[in-house]
């Protein structure tokens, strides 16, 4: 299956803004994070097609995944 991965804020550093990825069926958000070298605990919020999900969420063909790091400064 094919999904679109969007990275935000500091996740873009040394990576990309948006890319398409080919994944095996039954892949989870976790399987997107691993090759990007992003640990699940580094993700503040993950949206799949606009809904917030956790790293165990099962992906399906055509999904758009948006990943945000915690931005907490004041």
């Amino acid at each position: 299956m094919r999904v679109t991965v969007k990275l935000f804020a500091t996740f873009r550093d040394g990576r990309f803004k948006v890319e398409e990825r080919e994944l095996q069926e039954e892949s989870k958000v976790l399987n997107i994070l691993e090759p990007l070298n992003i640990k699940p605990e580094e993700v503040a919020i993950c949206l799949v097609n606009g809904r917030d999900v956790n790293a165990q969420h099962l992906l399906k063909d055509g999904d758009t995944i948006a990943l945000f790091p915690p931005v907490g400064g004041g």
Partner: protein, 232 residues
């Protein structure tokens, strides 16, 4: 009142809007990069009362971005430096200062007779607590956060849980690595005040159940929805 002080607010704000602001009371939790600019803008636009909450003193590393920080004020309580500056800007605003860190059990005291709260904190965990307290007290909350070139801002009304969903995971923000340059707090504070003013004058805020993701490197401002749990 100084005649003409609010002349340039006119048309954007009706006389009725201005009067609502002049009767309003606002708490700002955190008086650093974001909180300083938020307080400055609220004093200039003309609110009645500002409650500033911060348990920290100014240090040299604050000078790059905190509008209340000057070389002469290093070592001073942040809320005291803020009050001194605000009184010079607008002596008609009542500024109350609290030299304490925000804590859940102090919410009722801190927010007595307050109409709106700004989250200008720098701790993810405390942000979540602040939202809970605001909701318990039926207070609207405008939250903003910054790190490097990036920021987030939104509005949380009782029952929304926007802050919990955005900041409830992860123990430390990326600002610990990327720092906070001068321009990011100024932008996010201004966006916060624009939303806050709408709440104070009874207009609909644009960022309820949503947040604006601000990227000053690419100059992209993107809105994301945080629909209520019931609709998920």
């Amino acid at each position: 009142m100084l005649e003409g002080r609010y002349v340039r607010n006119q048309e954007t704000l009706t006389d009725q809007d201005q009067n609502k602001l002049l009767a309003s009371s606002v708490a700002i939790v955190g008086c650093g990069g974001l909180g300083g600019y938020i307080a400055e803008e609220l004093a200039r636009i003309g609110v009645r009362r500002l409650v500033l909450i911060d348990g920290d003193r100014l240090e040299v590393s604050n000078l790059n971005r905190q509008i209340m920080a000057t070389e002469a004020s290093i070592g001073q309580w942040k809320v005291e430096a803020a009050r001194d500056r605000l009184q010079r800007v607008n002596s008609e605003v009542k500024v109350e200062i609290i030299k304490e860190w925000f804590a859940e059990e102090r919410g009722t005291d801190f927010f007595s007779e307050v109409d709106l709260v700004f989250d200008a904190l720098d701790s993810l965990a405390t942000r979540v607590v602040l939202e809970r307290v605001c909701h318990q007290l039926k207070l609207p909350l405008v939250f903003a956060s910054i790190a490097g070139w990036y920021g987030q801002i939104g509005v949380s009304l009782p029952g929304d849980f926007s802050v919990l969903r955005l900041y409830g995971h992860g123990d430390r923000g990326v600002e610990s690595k990327w720092g906070n340059p001068a321009f990011t707090p100024a932008v996010l504070a201004s966006l916060s005040v624009a939303e806050g003013v709408k709440l104070l004058i009874g207009r609909i805020p644009a960022l309820r159940r949503a947040w604006l993701q601000v990227d000053l490197l690419t100059m992209e401002f993107e809105r994301f929805e945080l629909p209520s749990f019931e609709s998920i």
